[in-house]
Symmetry: C2
Subunit: 351 residues, 2 copies
């Protein structure tokens, strides 16, 4: 081969490869194309995205939150470390968050317009795409367990209202009187919101109480068998009316898990998360665009949701154990532990 | 340039291009890559997928169904032809199907285990990804209109149960006594199903009444402005318990619409459609894999759903006005009209 030939080959190769780069159908190859087994098992949780800043969170609350997040995630991490399933890890971790009045789920569920507490939850098993969810339950101490019972012991995915309560009772789950969910703090909060809403002071309402549409807990885990589970639980929106259902019990919006891609749990202004099918969209971008979890999550949370004016965030783990915590709000309560036992807790954007 | 050089160039080009072909991230280019404006506007409807064959549908029922499908779709087609919106076309077309006892939606809604009729519906506007849905409503004559009111006049996407009824009433929609939805045929059907279920004769139940989990109506349209709307309405599953919610009111499962990709309405065994996020997955494949609507629909309905053992089908229209009707069941009630006014009706697989 002459030197001339060699130059010709290089020229043609570079030209063709640069053409390929311009083909928008072929996104740049990323870590998911050259997998690195980052974590044999991993777990991540959130306690809700919102307006958290160092200005509006007292040091005492900051410390309480971090301590509860640590307690919760340690429960799940122990299960995974001992070879337990991601299903168990997610359920038991969420129990800790549901049993705390600090988060809008279970015991800490916010009030509806009718001064009741109506909770939603969902769980999805990435191994077989099985899923369960409940919406508008009022008497089950741990809504995430009701979602799991729907998945495992019913032919359905989503049960609602009285029927969901009844099913969970039939399953032997712990029943509580609706007054169990009563908290002075949340009731005062509802009444402040209602007062401003009744006066049609919507701008002031959003300014004074920017988080009244927010609040959720969620957990995603991958176990030693590579099985991914995602779960989400919430009391919904303060002052919600008309038996509104948000994204938390909606598979594809609030929760999605597929061992071939990732698991996702969402938190934020639910209506936007439903319209953008947030959890499934992140999974679909990994599957079809072959981008990394990081790229998919950034695209959905920082671009697609922002374009729709949808506030919130997600936590996710991909099939390689990579952890992602992405939010477009000032803060998000969150924590993660990787296989090495390294724990991370975060509240604000800059940490 | 020598002849030798020319051969070298051709050799390198062919080698590189064939390498590119093997890159599974780059699916073969299809019609959506070289768009042909097939229809300036178009409309498609379904009246449910199921076990329909020429053996189990009498010629009289066949004729009744085709005539009602034709009546319904003509209403929507006329709106589109006169420059009306796809939102109006979808809503008014679905009214005709909801007002007929022939289909499992509105007047023809099947019975729950409690011998009540609980209806679900959803609608999505592809222009802005706005969406509305209702689940478990019992007093609204036309559930699809309740879904549209939720989309247009509430800050929410999904309302349920009593709250959804109340919201629709406040919106001035036509209210009926629950007895309006009573039909002798559906009540007899429920009681047969219950008898077999109570005797735990599940195999016989599925053999004798293969369609008891099915039945939905839906419509997708694209108007002269290129706006796509999708809508779905159903009475759900015969003998449903625990306020079960199927895929019809779930944005991303039963309904999805995005002007940049397509609009989809699903019909089938709802639980599988939720787990596979069917409507959003078809849209995502068009967006991220750059495949045609036909390829995306076939992949989801004939491969992904079949792998999960999920029976049913979808109707869809892409942004070029291409119509797709895809199902993995023996039949699906369906009809379409393209811009030229050519009407098609179908029930069985081979037509």
């Amino acid at each position: 081969m002459t030197l001339n030939n060699v130059f010709t080959i290089i020229f043609v190769a570079v030209t063709l490869l640069s053409c390929k780069k311009k083909d928008t159908r072929t996104p740049p190859s990323t870590s998911i194309e050259t997998p690195i087994q980052v974590n044999e098992f991993a777990i991540v949780i959130h306690g809700g995205a919102g307006s958290q800043t160092r200005k509006n969170i007292t040091p005492e609350l900051d410390s309480l939150i971090r301590s509860k997040l640590t307690e919760a995630i340690t429960v799940g991490h122990r299960i995974l470390k001992n070879g337990g399933s991601s299903l168990d890890a997610v359920e038991k971790t969420i129990h800790v968050l549901e049993n705390s009045p600090l988060f809008n789920a279970g015991k800490g569920a916010v009030y509806t317009n009718q001064e009741t507490n109506e909770m939603d939850a969902s769980i999805m098993n990435g191994a077989n795409l099985d899923a369960g969810a409940v919406a508008g339950i009022t008497t089950i101490k741990n809504p995430i367990s009701a979602a799991r019972k729907v998945m495992e012991n019913s032919p359905h995915v989503l049960l609602s209202g009285k029927g969901a309560n009844q099913f969970a009772e039939e399953q032997g789950l712990e029943i509580v009187d609706p007054s169990y969910f009563a908290t002075e703090k949340n009731l005062r909060y509802l009444r402040k919101i209602k007062t401003l809403e009744n006066k049609k002071l919507t701008a002031l309402l959003t300014k004074k109480y920017p988080d009244y549409k927010f609040g959720t807990v969620g957990c995603v885990a991958i176990d030693k068998n590579g099985n991914i589970t995602a779960g989400t639980s919430t009391g919904g929106m303060t002052n919600k009316k008309w038996n509104r259902i948000g994204d938390s019990p909606i598979i594809g919006a609030g929760t999605y898990a597929d061992n071939n891609t990732c698991g996702v749990s969402s938190t934020g202004h639910g209506e936007y998360f439903i319209r953008a099918a947030v959890a499934h969209d992140i999974s679909a971008q990994i599957e079809y665009k072959k981008v990394s979890l990081k790229e998919a999550a950034e695209n959905v949370v920082q671009q697609k949701l922002v374009a729709l004016k949808g506030d919130g965030g997600i936590i996710a783990i991909d099939k390689y154990g990579n952890i992602q915590m992405e939010f477009n709000t000032p803060g998000m309560y969150r924590a993660s532990i990787n296989q090495k036992g390294e724990i991370y807790t975060g509240i604000y954007k800059d940490e």
